[in-house]
Amino acid sequence: MAQPATPITIDAESAADPVLSARPENRVWKKFRNHRSAMLGGVLVVSFCAIALLAPILPIPDPFATDWGAVRKAPSAAHWLGTDELGRDVLSRLIWGAQASLLAGVVSVAIALGLGVPLGIIAGYFGGWTDAVISRCTEALLAAPFLILAIALAAFLGPSLTNAMIAIGISATPVFIRLTRGQVLSVAAEDYVESARAIGLSTPRILRRYIFPNVLPPVLVQATLTVATAIIAEASLSFLGLGQQPPSPSWGSMLNTAKNFLNQAPWMALWPGIAIFMVVLGFNLLGDGLRDALDPREH
């Protein structure tokens, strides 16, 4: 005998709860807005982006202007964060350096997303040999530690900010391939994708309309966290002399120079490090908050 279907009931408490009854996008935004550390991360990231974008119009000295009369001067009213070994204003170089660091973080992740997401979708959706080849290549790239791979690629491509971004982007790609593939595998087995196939929708349309939007949330979280990793990686490459080349300012190259003057001018090493720490912390807090907001188990 067939069992009677369990009636679907909505208790008064759930119906009244604005979080549970809201649309998913609103619910996620509401959770994100209430996540204090995520908001702090957001404020940090937006502040650094604003500083980097406004660098050309801020009333600060030329970051390239040397002043032999003000070599390695401690912080003062004239130079709020002091000067470096060539008498250049540290604050000015820090602000202009934000452009290089943030650009490197964003462009590297854009490269990784541009390569990783399509390859992950292809591997997960089509399966078979395509999946086998892409997955094995991904495993091979994942086997080489991120920084070693980035250093090797930057070394082979030549030292410059552009090449550092390419090297970091390629090194970060396997993570996105693997993540996207896994998401596609679970989404492609859903009933609504089966139904889309059954009504004869074309593969590109299914991928665009049903697969891609459902793959996006975890990819977005990973992308935010990877920007943090990429900023540290760019700073590391610049610190080693494989990223931004002098005299252009970047936080990593500023630290590279500063390590030679630790005794005489410790402020040269202090501020770029704090800047890297703050911006990376911002992206990490933002990524953690996004993950919590998008996680259905947390509802």
Partner: protein, 314 residues
């Protein structure tokens, strides 16, 4: 267990082959003629042709690959352009230094990260938990090369407590060797401690809501026993697996730490090779690191099976 290890080794073979193809392709992507780089100032066509023949650069690329991988399988990863030493010998000399550094960093990370993770999970939702999380996230966000510079400034330059750089072999003077490595190991272990703390907290939280922990509490066991004997023991499996995986990351992370503290290890070898355009060494390092990483993955899998009685029975 043996069949499991063998099966995992077989699965690793295609990955290793692909890594070797990738490493070989890196060299081929280099702009310019490698023979000109090897010959230096020498531009005699006969010498250049001799070098091309010697290194079989006139062969088709697939043949060159098979020659290279054949040599690599016998331990011949080429000769360093700078020191004229075999690449494998160079790596063999530098690796023990980095392994000592990585082991000390791992000990630091475990001593700090695991208890902090347990404490944070037990005190979930309290100020202690919040502070521990903020500290862990800060640990993940600090660039370790900057932390190194700041520690040198404070501990070595200002307070004169520990040496700022150098290396003493463990076999020569164990106490001094460990003292010199303390600061670099702390720097390298910081991010790892943060990662371990976050994973321990998460593993403990998932175990502490399970039925057997509730049963242990219902039996009237003291809380310390419930946490350490019942919860932590079961949360240990993912932590041990992660620790094995992170050891590979430590070797890579040592690149910058060794550079700052002037430690003559594997990481410094990478940087020196990069700046001297010693591509055979760079290739060898990527290949050896990747194979080592696969080996650590295998160890992590074996540890996972050994620690989990249900998987062991399967």
């Amino acid at each position: 267990m043996l069949s499991f290890i063998l099966r995992r080794l077989v699965i690793a073979i295609p990955t290793i082959i692909l890594i070797s193809v990738f490493v070989f392709t890196l060299q081929k992507l280099l702009p310019g003629d490698p023979v000109l780089a090897m010959a230096g100032e020498e531009r005699d066509p006969q010498v250049l042709e001799f070098l091309r023949e010697k290194y079989r650069l006139n062969d088709p690329i697939p043949v060159q690959y098979f020659t290279w991988i054949g040599n690599a399988l016998t331990g011949d990863l080429g000769i360093s352009l700078r020191t004229n030493q075999p690449v494998l010998e160079l790596i063999g000399q530098k690796l023990p230094v980095t392994i000592q550094l990585a082991t000390m960093a791992m000990i630091f990370a475990m001593v700090i990260g695991i208890p902090a993770g347990i404490f944070s999970a037990v005190k979930k939702g309290t100020v202690t938990d919040y502070v521990a999380n903020v500290v862990a996230l800060s640990g993940l966000s600090i660039p370790n090369f900057w932390l190194g510079i700041m520690l040198i400034l404070l501990v070595s330059v200002k307070w004169k407590l520990l040496p700022a750089s150098g290396y003493v072999p463990l076999s020569e003077d164990p106490i001094r060797s460990i003292t010199v490595m303390l600061m670099p190991a702390f720097v390298l272990g910081t991010a790892l401690a943060a990662t371990l703390m976050r994973h321990t907290r998460s593993a403990m939280l998932s175990v502490m809501s399970s039925d057997y922990v509730r049963t242990a509490r219902a039996k009237g066991l003291v809380e310390r026993k419930v946490i350490l004997k019942h919860a932590f023991r079961n949360a240990l499996t993912p932590i041990v697996t992660l620790t094995a995986l992170l050891f590979g990351e430590l070797i890579a992370g040592a690149v910058l730490t060794e550079q700052i503290f002037t430690i003559p290890g594997f990481g410094k070898l990478v940087v020196d090779a990069v700046f001297n355009r010693d591509y055979a060494v760079v290739q060898g390092i990527v290949l050896v690191t990747a194979v080592g990483f696969i080996f650590m993955n295998l160890l992590a899998d074996v540890a996972y099976v050994l620690l989990n009685p249900r998987l062991r029975k399967q």
